[in-house]
């Protein structure tokens, strides 16, 4: 989680990723932020995130993003 939060802060330092739970639903993150996050996550964890994974529930919180990454790593 530490590593993930660091990556997220690198993309948008002004957001409280530890506590936000509706990052997409409340438009805290826009689609450009999400693509930046996806690119960083793909690099850091060596996973392939595709358009199919671009569901709001996968990006609404740091925890959800971690779950997504773990699932993708598991599927590798």
């Amino acid at each position: 989680m530490e590593k993930l939060l660091e990556i997220l802060k690198g993309v948008r330092s002004d957001i409280d990723f530890e506590n936000e739970t509706a990052l997409v639903d409340n438009n805290v993150l826009d689609s450009f932020d999400i693509v930046s996050i996806v690119t960083e996550l793909a690099d850091a964890y060596d996973v392939t995130i595709t358009a199919e994974d671009m569901e709001p529930e996968n990006f609404n919180s740091a925890e959800a993003m971690l779950r997504l990454v773990e699932r993708l790593m598991d599927e590798m």
């Binding site: 438009n27 826009d30 689609s31 450009f32 693509v35 930046s36 996806v38 690119t39 793909a42 995130i49 595709t50 358009a51 199919e52 671009m54 599927e75």
Partner: protein, 532 residues
């Protein structure tokens, strides 16, 4: 049968009554019959053939993909312990590949029909277009009612099924209802099967609240469309007429101001009527507008304007382009060579051009629409690319970004950029549009308002009518501010005293009845977005 016709209101009343009278398990059938009846009256038999063909093609294509996935799943399960995790994954991947091929092919067929019919239509309107002669084969094909809307809904559905987002609809009647649902067929909003398709398949109990709120939304839509938009149309028709080119910049600005409110009243009014009609039937259609005039950037505007198209583009074009292998590969190359910012910038700058080029040609394959699409893409890409520079500038100039004045500046800046966009599309030609934009900033002369000859009242609307429009736009503005601050108008109205509540509704009703542009001998203007 236009949304603002008396016929439509009678039709809707009859459908709503029948909907709650028939046994709930037949509600879908009633809506399907009503939708096809509505479609037939608006588009004729020929249109009906097109929508039927798309519906059947999409229905069977989705079932094909679903059966491949189900068969594979069944096969893996039947092998039980005999199969390793790796082998099962490989089998799934192989099937996913096959499904992906079908998905791409079927989407292309749907898209191909849309593009072909649109091109034929363009060639019919302008014989010099692409050098297509009217005697060529296929030139007698028509553009069926709601072509873009039902095609986009079908494409979204095929992509979702290909991705395995949900199971394909096996009930052909219920699927046909999804592609033809009458409130959303003429001018949207675009619907997702996982949301609206499911709601349409589900029985709905009578709800007085839905009926009341739906009717209120329809009334509000009528107010925007026939009191505001149809009246403003008179001014814009004059100022943007190809025969008059001697308007000064201020007059052009007045014209584009009128057009901005006209197109908002027209499109969002139509959406309100569609959403209201659906709500009376217990169906929640997606939002299409969220007070776009309060947008503080172009990106923000596109999150508030034609939201269902924006969401569609984001899900089915923007993300797939951004995350596609070629784009990520190029992005990686840039990152390695010029650092992380450059790597991020490549897709962020490229994707808006793809999306807005498509939005441009969706409106029409003309130089004006394409230029407007690229203009929007340029502003959004520019905003992303220069974001860090703007941030530094704001810090250097010590601007308080939380202040009202800064927000007002942002709103006015966005509105001005939008005025340019509106002129590009609305001007008689692209060249004329550029001339008008230039004039707007160079020849400022308010004489048409302040002068004794009252030129302002010679565009087709009298002083009384213009004052009326002003009051109505102010009403829109106040409602917008309330909504921006989280007030839910209809819920708030429910909590008011009987006299105040009904007084306000009757006042709005009277305004529509007295000030609406309608009546015998007058044909309500077609919805602008009905043509797409």
């Amino acid at each position: 049968m236009g949304f603002t016709s008396f016929k439509f209101l009678v039709f809707l009343f009859a459908v709503v009554v029948a909907y709650y009278v028939v046994p709930r398990r037949f509600q879908w059938a009633l809506l399907l019959a009503a939708s096809y009846g509505f479609y037939l009256s608006g588009g004729g038999v020929e249109s009906l053939c097109y929508i039927l063909a798309t519906t059947l093609f999409t229905y069977f294509s989705a079932l094909w993909m679903q059966s491949l996935r189900d068969k594979n799943q069944k096969h893996i399960l039947s092998l039980g312990e005999e199969i390793t995790k790796d082998k099962a994954r490989d089998m799934k991947k192989a099937t996913a590949k096959k499904i992906h091929r079908i998905q791409v092919l079927t989407v292309l067929v749907n898209l191909g029909v849309l593009v072909l019919l649109k091109l034929i239509n363009m060639a019919k309107q302008d014989p010099s277009f692409l050098g297509i002669s009217p005697d060529m084969p296929l030139m007698n094909l028509i553009v069926p009612l709601g072509l873009s809307y039902y095609t986009f809904n079908s494409i979204g559905y095929l992509i979702d099924i290909g991705r395995g987002k949900y199971a394909a609809q096996r009930h052909i009647g219920k699927f046909a209802l999804f592609t033809s649902f009458f409130p959303s067929i003429v001018q949207g909003p675009l619907c997702r099967f996982g949301d609206v398709g499911v709601q349409l398949s589900t029985p709905h109990a009578f709800s007085y609240k839905n009926l009341k709120h739906g009717a209120q939304l329809i009334l509000w839509g009528f107010f925007k469309k026939i009191v505001i938009a149809d009246r403003l149309a008179v001014i814009t028709a004059t100022i943007f007429s190809p025969t008059f080119t001697d308007y000064n910049g201020s007059q052009i600005f007045f014209g584009v101001l009128a057009y901005s409110f006209q197109i908002y009243g027209d499109f969002s009014g139509g959406t309100d009527i569609a959403r209201g009609a659906a709500q009376m039937l217990g169906i929640n259609l997606p939002m299409n507008f969220e007070r776009p005039f309060f947008a503080n950037s172009m990106g923000d505007f596109w999150r508030r304007w034609h939201m269902s198209l924006g969401a569609w583009m984001r899900e089915y074009v923007f993300y797939p382009v951004m995350l596609s292998r070629p784009v990520t590969a190029v992005s990686k190359k840039f990152r390695l060579k010029w650092g992380p910012h450059a790597g991020k910038m490549v897709p962020s700058v490229a994707a808006p051009f793809v999306v807005f080029f498509l939005i441009g040609i969706w409106h029409g394959v003309t130089a004006q629409y394409i230029t407007n699409g690229l203009y929007n893409a340029f502003l959004i890409s520019g905003g992303v690319a220069l974001g860090p520079v703007f941030q530094k500038l704001i810090q250097k100039l010590k601007i308080n970004t939380e202040s009202f004045s800064w927000r007002l500046f942002q709103i006015l800046r966005t509105f001005t950029l939008l005025c340019i966009s509106r002129i590009i599309v609305k001007a008689p030609s692209l060249g004329e549009g550029f001339r008008m934009i230039g004039a707007m900033f160079t020849s400022v002369d308010l004489g048409f308002i302040t002068g004794a000859d009252k030129v302002m009242f010679s565009y087709g609307l009298s002083e009384t009518e213009l004052s009326l429009i002003f009051v109505c736009v102010m009403v829109l503005f106040v409602v917008g501010i309330l909504q921006e601050n989280g007030v839910k108008i209809r819920e708030g109205l429910d909590r008011q005293n009987f006299i105040f509540r009904w007084g306000l509704i009757l006042l709005l009703f009277a305004a529509v009845l007295i000030f609406g542009v309608y009546g015998p001998g007058y044909n309500a203007r077609d919805f602008i977005y009905g043509n797409f």
